[in-house]
């Protein structure tokens, strides 16, 4: 029924937040990675969100039958790499140092990643609050006339 589809919106928000958290933890874990498969140090990644409709056949059929109510949500459209420059650190004893003794370190700023992580956990909490509120409204509606 349509009142159950509204829980999917919060669910998509939770999925998107979890994916962003994965990318942030990958950035933090690769903070000092100077060697990747394509050569060169690790490049910081970030996610791009986009707003979409629920595209499953069952939900679109239900929306048309119930009169044009569209279920929305969020989805990660792509994971982009940060194009900013690497940090060059002077360390001639490092195995990946170039001829001048400089090592290219990843462009990951740990402070920025920690801030992102805090905001992502807040957004996850808010999505869960929205989901509980919707569930509470549906449960209260079922108490009408009891």
């Amino acid at each position: 029924m349509a009142f159950l589809n509204s829980l999917n919106i919060a669910g998509s928000g939770l999925t998107a937040s979890r994916l962003r958290m994965d990318v942030i933890s990958e950035n933090i874990a690769n903070y000092s990675t100077t060697k990747t498969e394509d050569g060169g140090p690790y490049r910081r990644k970030s996610v791009v969100y986009e707003a979409v409709e629920d595209k499953s056949f069952g939900s679109i059929l239900k929306d048309r039958l119930n009169g044009d109510q569209t279920t929305a949500g969020v989805q990660v459209s792509e994971i982009v790499e940060d194009p900013s420059d690497f940090n060059y650190v002077y360390n001639p004893t490092h195995p990946d140092a170039d001829e001048n003794g400089y090592v290219a370190m990843p462009n990951v700023d740990v402070t920025q990643e920690m801030l992102d992580m805090m905001s992502v956990t807040r957004v996850y909490d808010m999505n869960i609050n929205a989901l509980n509120a919707m569930k509470g409204m549906a449960a209260r509606a079922l108490e009408i006339g009891r």
Binding site: M1, F3, L4, L7, N8, A10, G11, L14, T15, R18, D22, I128, L131, K135, A138, A139, L142, G145, R146
Partner: protein, 104 residues
């Protein structure tokens, strides 16, 4: 002495026709609000949400998904649809008892 011939009694046929017309209307009623159609919708909802819950639980157990919230949302949906079904049954039972209390 005159013997009055027996005439066939047609009044029962008339009552039967009224009953037929009522049944006909109920069948052609678009999205009829009879208890039966509402119950069918509620039952199919319960089945559907239950299947989704089992599917999501399977996916989580086999590790195909990392989304822990999918199964909690599916279980919330299943419990809501069962609750709706129980309330519908209560209302239908109340209506039935009300009608039975009318008496002869």
């Amino acid at each position: 002495m005159n013997i009055i011939p027996i005439n066939t009694v047609n009044s029962l046929d008339e009552i039967g026709k009224i009953g037929q017309s009522v049944l006909g209307n109920a069948k052609t009623d678009e999205g009829g609000l009879s208890f039966q159609s509402i119950f069918k919708d509620a039952i199919s909802d319960v089945k559907e949400t239950n299947e989704t819950l089992e599917y999501e639980a399977n996916r989580l157990a086999t590790g195909e998904t990392d989304n822990l919230h999918d199964i909690t949302i599916a279980s919330t949906k299943a419990s809501l649809s069962v609750e709706l079904f129980v309330q519908l049954r209560n209302k239908a039972l109340e209506a039935y008892n009300e009608i039975m209390r009318i008496g002869i």
